[in-house]
Every structure is written in structure tokens, then in C-alpha cells.
């Protein structure tokens, strides 16, 4: 019932979000840009619209344009996406995603921006590189550290790129698909270990 | 009353423990001071006769302090539990009676750890330096609280209160030593805070006591306590004896004494209406001084809201962070002993010592032969020949105990209510408020005192 009440509201927030969540399994029509995507397009930033995440406008963006796009979205008065909810990293099947959930303290806009790095583009033994937005948004500082810690996405230009939740000498990135859990990390006999 | 049963249990526990404390102390004092010299040695010229009698004060204090601290810890824990809708320790012994005894045993058997990098000599000396002055400070008060009993007469120094203050300001050295020697930053900060705090709060504390000495024209604690005998109106907290004239006036009017009551008032308040104003001013001043004393004393013994040297939420445990086992126990013991000592100073200096709070003129008509009835009773029960109980000491001591523990209770109540000051606010409060206030009040008292004949001594033949 609440969902039914809310459904008329969601298009208001994102009028171009044509698809309600329930109808997703049907063959989707090509996604179109919502208000935020249009706004970015007007200001010369290219985004690739993606399937809405449950009624919330979603778009993919080139890593190089990320900082400019976020700065635009934050400073504009009509979009005013000034609340960076999270920065999350996702180890998808063939890509590493850095996902930015944007909301607003003054209106009901929502926007999900994704930076996708193909796994084939990442050299062996290296981490995927995404530009840091910690200088733009202080929130991003800890969230990017956490994403680096758990998913292993390196944020270029981060002021303090260290692990935050795991210990500083932790091996591997726990939320990666290929992560192997240490057999007995607590009773590690390595004398140089900080654990 | 939802917690009436808890209050009853608390009272029962207090009474049992007070008996547990004072009966052994009483017996030790009697055994060393009377039984051994009079019944075993008998020869008054023997050097041991005097020696044993002279040992009584120190031995009774040494017996008293550990048991008393044990009781006060339990008293505090149960009291706080009472204020905060909890039960408190109620398992060990009968209704938690032996909880602190168990804790004390546990502390004694704990490992005594000296941290790496600590200055071992200082680290060991610190608890002793902290504890020893509280023993010394307690001794001159013994004469005052026992109504100058012959056995405790020798410790009654003419400079009594001065000595007590001097002795009780030494423990801060122990805290700084402990804080510095622990090789721990929290301890260091705690120790330094304690030094700063003690310096700034000692001044109002001393000024408030000096003002009372000024009113009493004496530093002798026994004399100060005796001056306040005769009821609540004579206590130093109410004008430092300025009400003595009114007290006598009422007494004479009730009795219908032949002496003209007006001469009493005139001799007490020589300058007419100006003297009455001065008396009123003195009452206000002494009440303020009493409040200053309580504040300064709280700061002196590091109780909430002035417990910055061991501020738990900032400095883990402050100066005693690194202490364990017996050394920690000594710190703990000394803290509670200090609380007891400042409470007894307050009782002796402000609250009439061993005096009965009910004015004599109110008590005498209703219970005319109070002392003459009770005295023979003691003779009957305790065999006067053994000199076991002396009613001239027993009742003052009882009153002192009741009054002192009400101060302790008050301190617990404060602890259960107030948050802690911040260090800069504490310093501001001390230097900018308390010290100027105490100086001003002291000055006002010095002038007002001239207009009133405080602690009026009746002209010869006048006193009933």
C-alpha cells in the first residue's frame, strides 16, 4: 500500500524513470537520461544512462569526468545533489564499479552515478584506478578508504589512502569475488605481523 | 515509598558496620590505655605505664582507618545504588555486609605490578606519601571528637587546626609523585592537574577555617569545639557564636532567672541595633564560609565534581592508572580516609563538634536530668571500676559520628548528582570566584566581629 502511494511520487523525483521496479524482468527498453543526466548533458558532461535502480536514476560516467560532474551536480541550484550518501565499490562479474549515491538536503532528487572499470583493463597485480573526490566532498574521504580497503579500488589523489577497517597489513580485499579467507588469521605466527 | 525496604536495609547495614568499627576501636583504646597500665602494670612510676597511655591515639587511629574505609566504600556504593534505582552490592555476607572485606582481601592478593620505565622508588613511595599525612591529620582531631578525654589529651596541640591543615595538604605531593613516576601520560596529566587544583582550592579552604579561628580567638580544636556546646544556635555555622546572646536570653526567660535579661543582650550586643545587624551579617558570612569550605574540601580530596585528577572519561584513572594490588589499595584507603577527615573537620569547626544539636534550654525542661540518669546507667552496666565507658566521652563521640557520616552521605549525594568540571572552568571558578569571595567575606567578618560579643562568656554569677 505504501508502495502504491509512493509510486506516483517517484516519477516526480525522476520523471523520465519510466520503469517501475516490479516490471524489471521483461526485456527492458533502452534507458533514457533523467533530469540529472539531462542537466549534465546540458553542461557538456557525457553520461551513459543505465537501468534504473528501483526507480532511482542511474548513469555511468567516464572516470575522467567524475569530479567535474559531481561538482556541477552539487553546486547547481535546481538539482542540488549536495548529500553524498555513500561511495560503494562493487566487484561485478566483469567490471569494478565505484558507485556514488547522491541525494539532496533540500529537494527529493536522487541520482546514482557509477564509474565502471573493466576487469580486462586492469593489469595483473594492479588495482583499478578511479579519481578521488575526497577534496570535493569530505564524506568521500572515509568512504573511499573503506572501498579501497574492502573492494580494492585505488582512488587517485586521495589525501590518506590507507586501509580503514582492516589492519594496515591485511592481505587481499575481502569483498572481491576471488578473495581467499586466511585460514587462521588470528593465530598468525608471523612475528612481523601487526595482527 | 517504593524503595522503603532498600532504605531500611541501608540503615541496618550502616548501623551494623558502625558498631563493627567503633566497638573494636573502643576496646583497643581501652585495652592499651587503661587495661594494660592500670590492671597489668599498676605501677604509675613505670615508664611503660605512660608509654602505653601515649600510644593510645596512634593505635586507635591505625585500627580505625582501615575498617572505616571499608565501611565507607560500602556506604558509598549502597548509597549511590539507593539514589540511582539499583540494588548495589548485596550478595557477600548478610545483605552485602562483607562485600568490601572481600574486595580488600582480593586487592591484597593481587599482583603488585610496577610498569616498565617507572621510577621504582618514587612509584613505591607515592602511596605512602599519600596515605601517611591522613593518619597524622586525624590525630589532633581525636581530642576534639572525644570531648578531651584524658587518654587523648596529649594529642591536643595548641595549634591544632593549623597542624591539621598543614598535614592534609601534603597528600598532593604523593599524587604528583605517583603520576610522574608511573611513566604514563594519563597519570602525568592527572598528577599535574591535582597539583594545580590543590593549590587553587586550598586558599578558600584555609580562609574559611581561619575565619572560624578568628571568631573563636583560638587554633585549638578542643577549645573551638567546647565553645560551641549548648545547642544548634551556638554552632559556628550560624554566626560563629554570634547567636550565643540570644540563646542565653531565651534560656533565662524560660527559667525565669532573676538576672535582668536585658543585661545579657547588652553584653552580647553592645552597640544596639548595629550589633544585631552585625550578627545577621555574621550568620550570612559563616554560612557562605561553610559552603566555601565544603567546595574546597571536595576539591582537596578529589571528589566529584572536582575529581579531575582521576577523571575517568578523560584520563582513564588519572594518577593511579598504573597502580595495582596493595599500592592501589593504599590510594583507595587514603581517599576515603581523607573524606572522613575533612568531614570531621567540618563537624569540629562548624557543626559544634560533639555538641548536642538541641539547645539546652529546650532539652532541659523536657528531660531535666538527662545526664544524671544516664550516668548511673553506665555505672550499672559496665562496672565503673573497669573504666570501660565514660559518658562524658560517649555522647559527644556519638554525635560526632552521626554528624560526620551525614557529611559523608552528603558527599555521596553530590557524587550521585553532578557532572564533572572541565579543568579550565575549575581554575576559573577557583581563582576568579571562590578566592575573591572568601577574601571579601573574611574581611566583612573581621569588621562585623568587633560589634558582637561572640561566644559570650557570662559575667560571674550570671550563668544558670
Amino acid at each position: 500500500m505504501t508502495d502504491e502511494e509512493k509510486k506516483p511520487e517517484e516519477p516526480k523525483a525522476a520523471p523520465a524513470a519510466a520503469k517501475p521496479a516490479a516490471a524489471k524482468p521483461e526485456p527492458p527498453p533502452p534507458p533514457t537520461a533523467g533530469p540529472a543526466g539531462q542537466f549534465l548533458k546540458e553542461h557538456g558532461v557525457v553520461t551513459i544512462p543505465m537501468v534504473d535502480s528501483c526507480g532511482c536514476e542511474t548513469a555511468e560516467i567516464n572516470p575522467a569526468d567524475l569530479a567535474a560532474a559531481l561538482r556541477l551536480l552539487r553546486s547547481s541550484s535546481e538539482i542540488a545533489l549536495d548529500f553524498l550518501v555513500t561511495v560503494s565499490g562493487v566487484d561485478n562479474i566483469d567490471t569494478y564499479d565505484s558507485v556514488y549515491h547522491l541525494q539532496s538536503f533540500s529537494n527529493k532528487n536522487e541520482f546514482v552515478l557509477k564509474v565502471r572499470i573493466k576487469k580486462t583493463d586492469v593489469p595483473e597485480g594492479k588495482l583499478p584506478n578511479v579519481p578521488s573526490i575526497a577534496n570535493l566532498w569530505k564524506t568521500a574521504n572515509w568512504h573511499e578508504r573503506e572501498t579501497y580497503d574492502l573492494v580494492g579500488i585505488r582512488y587517485n589523489g586521495h589525501p590518506y589512502p590507507r586501509r580503514i577497517l582492516n589492519t594496515w597489513d591485511w592481505d587481499g580485499y575481502p569483498l572481491r569475488r576471488d578473495y581467499k579467507q586466511p585460514v587462521d588469521a588470528l593465530n598468525d605466527k608471523n612475528p612481523h605481523s601487526m595482527r | 515509598m517504593g524503595n522503603a525496604s532498600e532504605i531500611f536495609k541501608f540503615t541496618r547495614l550502616s548501623v551494623i558496620w558502625l558498631c563493627l568499627i567503633f566497638i573494636p576501636v573502643w576496646f583497643v583504646a581501652w585495652g592499651v590505655g587503661i587495661f594494660i597500665p592500670y590492671f597489668l602494670i599498676k605501677d604509675q612510676s613505670n615508664v611503660f605505664f605512660d608509654l602505653f597511655q601515649a600510644l593510645v591515639p596512634i593505635i586507635s587511629v591505625l585500627v580505625f582507618i582501615p575498617i572505616n574505609a571499608m565501611f565507607m566504600v560500602l556506604f558509598e556504593r549502597r548509597g549511590l545504588a539507593l539514589f540511582t534505582v539499583r540494588s548495589g552490592p548485596n550478595r557477600v555476607g548478610m545483605d552485602g555486609l562483607l562485600q568490601t572485606a572481600a574486595d580488600a582481601v582480593k586487592l591484597l592478593f593481587k599482583e603488585d605490578i610496577t610498569p616498565r620505565g617507572a621510577d621504582i622508588a618514587m612509584f613505591t613511595l607515592a602511596p605512602i606519601t599519600f596515605f601517611a599525612p591522613s593518619v597524622f591529620a586525624a590525630i589532633p582531631l581525636l581530642a576534639a571528637v572525644t570531648n578531651d578525654h584524658p587518654l587523648f589529651h596529649i594529642v591536643n596541640l595548641p595549634t591544632g587546626i593549623f597542624y591539621v591543615l598543614a598535614a592534609s595538604s601534603v597528600p598532593v605531593v604523593g599524587i604528583v609523585m605517583g603520576g610522574w613516576a608511573s611513566n604514563n601520560k594519563y597519570s602525568l596529566v592527572g598528577g599535574l592537574r591535582s597539583a594545580a587544583q590543590a593549590i587553587s582550592y586550598e586558599i578558600p579552604l584555609v580562609l574559611s577555617l581561619i575565619s572560624i579561628s578568628m571568631m573563636a580567638k583560638s587554633l585549638d580544636v578542643v577549645q573551638i569545639a567546647n565553645q560551641q556546646a549548648g545547642g544548634i544556635l551556638d554552632w559556628n555555622i550560624f554566626g560563629g557564636g554570634a547567636l550565643r546572646g540570644i540563646d542565653k536570653f531565651i534560656a533565662l526567660n524560660l527559667v525565669g532567672n532573676t538576672i535582668d535579661a536585658k543585661t545579657i543582650l547588652d553584653s552580647a550586643y553592645p552597640s544596639g541595633i548595629l550589633s544585631y545587624v552585625a550578627a545577621a551579617v555574621l550568620i550570612v558570612c559563616t554560612v557562605i564560609m561553610f559552603a566555601l569550605y565544603l567546595t574546597g574540601a571536595c576539591a582537596e580530596i578529589n571528589r566529584i565534581p572536582f575529581d579531575l585528577p582521576e577523571a575517568e572519561s578523560e584520563l582513564v584513572s588519572g594518577y593511579n592508572t598504573e597502580y595495582s594490588g596493595i599500592k592501589f589499595a593504599i590510594f583507595f584507603l587514603a581517599e576515603f580516609t581523607n573524606l572522613f577527615i575533612v568531614s570531621s573537620i567540618a563537624v569540629v569547626m562548624f557543626m559544634g563538634g560533639g555538641g548536642n544539636p538541641i539547645p539546652a534550654w529546650l532539652l532541659d525542661p523536657w528531660w531535666p536530668s538527662f545526664s544524671s540518669q544516664v550516668g548511673p546507667m553506665f555505672d550499672l552496666v559496665t562496672a565503673k571500676g573497669l573504666m570501660l565507658v565514660d559518658e562524658h566521652t560517649f555522647f559527644p563521640a556519638l554525635w560526632v559520628i552521626v554528624k560526620t557520616y551525614s557529611f559523608v552521605f552528603f558527599a555521596i549525594l553530590i557524587r550521585g548528582t553532578l557532572p564533572r568540571f572541565r579543568i579550565d572552568q575549575l581554575m576559573d571558578f577557583g581563582w576568579k570566584r571562590l578566592i575573591p569571595l572568601s577574601l571579601i567575606v573574611f574581611l566583612v567578618m573581621a569588621f562585623a566581629r568587633v560589634l558582637v560579643n561572640v561566644h559570650l562568656v557570662m559575667p560571674v554569677g550570671g550563668a544558670p
Partner: protein, 376 residues
């Protein structure tokens, strides 16, 4: 002979104090590396992660049904809200419509949980300010009564596992509503009692007024949410801003302060929130109707339709969100928590610099951080 007194150039050594992780006042295992100049804080670095339990990893490696039971541990003081955030995200993915009675029960249980969380904050905050053994235990009396009520409907005192995907776990007995009503009638008097002790206490005011000022711009920049944000002048409460569940049918106020919030305002805001939550519970108890409480069959192999979604609820500490990617199997593909404490804690260095060390815990306590919520 001129003597130059350069008092301003007197330099003292900075001291580094390591507060925590074993510190009595850090509410768990937070470590603060504090640079001190005398008693003044020059620089702070919070080190978190001592309580990291890999909640997101566990979410990805357990079935939906298994992980539901673990969620309350993310923020152990407001388990209802973590459950609710996850349930809402999953329901949105699955296209479930939650029965009306279940929504009411969710609101009642969650607001009760909000009160318990704020009560615990009140007690521990007073401990942070140094009211060591006194007042802090009063709030626990009320908290205990609420836990008794919550235990009856959820079967657990703190780890409720009550709000499930598709509804709630159990319907309370009719008697329960009566007792809940009694509690709501009694509770405002109890809050008056706390306020009588604390609100006008001169030492409390001295310790809190003008301490730990958080300007609006800084709060927004760090993504601070919850009462802490609302004290800094941003009226952002998801219950009002984007009403979810049945909150649009309820009347309540969101305490907001104009201007920069200090610790005293944060105290006032939380106390007011307790009263408002109590009001909400009372309204819900009047409006709730009999009906169904569960829309999805709770089986071990429960599956959620594929897709991704982010949903948030207004927890006691702020926006508690859950970002789920499902691939249609019985396990989530990616589980991401957005915890209010994590963002709120990151603002701590800004708040502390220039304050004496005694205020470190006073300010840290005032932003109401729960360490398991930070570390997950």
C-alpha cells in the same frame, strides 16, 4: 640594556596521547590519536575498525534468510532500524507490498527502539561528562521497561530480528498494546524527571554550551545526519522529508535548531525526539487495525528478484541505508551498509581541534557514535 620578553614564542612540546582502544569512555573500541599542546587538542586521528566483523562479507556469503538474523548486530542499539532498512531495500527489489498492520507494528517497534537508543545515549553521555555513578542509571529504568515490551514481541531483548522481509515476525497479544499504552502515558513524566536533573544543571550547562560547535557547511560536507545535523540547522529527517511507511499519517515534530549546533542543543534535540517518538507510538497504538502481518513466506531458501536498490530509514543516529544488488539467487550479490555513525564520526577531528582534552569525550559523546555501527 633592553630585555626582550618573547612570551608568544614560548614553545612547549606536543604530547601524543593514544586514547583507546582500551579507554573507559570511548564507547567500545575507538582509538583516537590525539596531539596535545598542554591540555589543548592540536590534531586528532580516529582509528576505527577494531570491531570490524565483515558484516558486508557475511551478507554476501549467507542466504537472505540467514543474514536477516545477523543484521541487528550492525548497530546493536538500534537493531530494528537496521532490519528495517534491509527489509525495505529487499521489498523494493522484490516488489512486495507490506501489509498495513505490519507497517504499524514496524513503526511502534522502531520508535520504541529509538527511545531505548536515546535513553542509553543520555546515560552514557552523562558518564562522559563525569556524572559517574549518579544520574546515568535513571534512563536505564525506562529502557528496561521498553526492553521487556520488545522482548515480548521479538523474543530477544536487543537483537530483535523482528522486522523481516515482507512484514514482521509476530503479532503481539492484545494485552501487549494495553501495556505499551500505559508506558506511553507514563513516559513523558519520566523525561521530565531527567530534564529536572540535567537541563538546568549549572555544571552541565557550563560543560556543554558553546562546546563542539558544528557549522552547517561542515556538517553537510561530511554527510552528517540525524539529530547532530538537525542541530546544525538542516531540517533533514527522512520520516518527514521523504515519508516512508506510515509516517505521513502521523503527527510529530522534528526538533531542529537554527544556527550552529553545540553539544547542549544535541542533548535538547535528543530529549525532544524521545518525547516525539513517544507521541508517535501513542498515535500508532490508536490507529493500528487487525490484519495480516507478513507478505512473504519466510523459508530458508527465500529469493529476492534481481536488481539493485538503495533504501534508507531515519535511525536514531541518522540516515541508515542499505544498498543491495541481487542476482535473483538466495544470496545477495552485494550488500552495502550506509551507516550514520561512520559519516558522523569522520567529522570528529573538525570538532575537537582547539578544545581541551576534557572536552574530547564530551564532544565525542554528543554526536552519538556507536562503534559497531562504524566498523560493521
Amino acid at each position: 640594556m633592553a630585555i626582550e620578553l618573547k612570551t608568544h614564542s614560548l614553545k612547549t612540546d606536543e604530547m601524543i596521547i593514544n586514547m583507546g582502544p582500551q579507554h573507559p569512555a570511548t564507547h567500545g573500541v575507538l582509538r583516537l590519536i590525539v596531539n596535545l599542546d598542554g591540555e589543548m587538542v592540536k590534531h586528532v586521528e580516529p582509528v576505527v575498525g577494531h570491531l570490524h566483523r565483515g558484516q558486508e562479507w557475511q551478507g554476501q556469503n549467507r542466504t537472505w534468510f540467514q543474514y536477516q538474523a545477523l543484521i541487528d548486530r550492525v548497530d546493536y542499539l538500534s537493531g530494528m532500524f537496521t532490519s528495517w532498512a534491509m527489509a525495505r531495500a529487499a521489498e523494493k527489489l522484490d516488489g512486495l507490498v507490506v501489509p498495513e498492520r505490519a507497517e504499524w507494528l514496524r513503526i511502534i517497534a522502531s520508535e520504541m527502539n529509538r527511545i531505548t537508543s536515546h535513553l542509553l545515549w543520555l546515560g552514557t553521555y552523562l558518564i562522559d561528562l563525569g556524572a559517574m555513578f549518579g544520574f546515568p542509571f535513571y534512563p536505564f529504568r525506562e529502557r528496561e521497561k521498553l526492553f521487556v515490551l520488545l522482548e515480548e514481541i521479538a523474543g530477544q531483548r536487543m537483537m530483535f530480528n523482528y522486522i523481516r522481509i515482507g512484514g514482521v515476525q509476530r503479532d503481539p497479544k492484545p494485552d501487549w498494546f494495553k501495556r505499551a499504552k500505559e508506558f506511553t502515558e507514563d513516559f513523558p513524566d519520566r523525561v521530565d524527571e531527567y530534564e529536572a536533573i540535567v537541563s538546568e544543571n549549572p555544571i552541565f550547562l557550563k560543560r556543554t554550551q558553546g562546546v563542539g560547535i558544528l557549522p552547517k557547511a561542515v556538517a553537510v560536507d561530511y554527510g552528517v545526519t540525524g539529530p547532530t545535523l538537525r542541530c546544525s540547522g538542516v531540517n533533514y529527517d527522512l520520516r518527514r522529508f521523504k515519508p516512508y511507511s506510515m509516517y505521513d499519517k502521523l503527527e510529530f515534530e522534528v526538533p531542529t535548531f537554527a544556527g550552529d549546533g553545540d553539544t547542549q542543543q544535541r542533548y535538547i534535540a535528543r530529549v525532544k525526539e524521545m518525547r516525539e517518538s513517544n507521541k508517535i507510538i501513542r498515535q500508532c497504538l490508536d490507529m493500528i487495525q487487525p490484519g495480516d502481518i507478513m507478505a512473504k513466506k519466510q523459508v530458508a531458501g527465500m529469493r529476492i528478484k534481481a536488481g539493485e536498490g538503495f533504501e534508507a530509514v531515519e535511525g536514531p543516529r541518522g540516515v541508515l541505508g542499505c544498498y543491495i544488488i541481487s542476482n535473483g539467487s538466495d544470496k545477495p550479490f552485494r550488500f552495502r551498509w550506509r551507516n550514520p555513525s561512520f559519516s558522523n564520526l569522520s567529522v570528529l577531528p573538525e570538532l575537537l581541534i582547539g578544545h581541551p582534552i576534557a572536552d574530547v569525550m564530551a564532544i565525542f559523546g554528543s554526536i552519538d557514535v556507536i562503534i559497531p555501527d562504524v566498523d560493521r
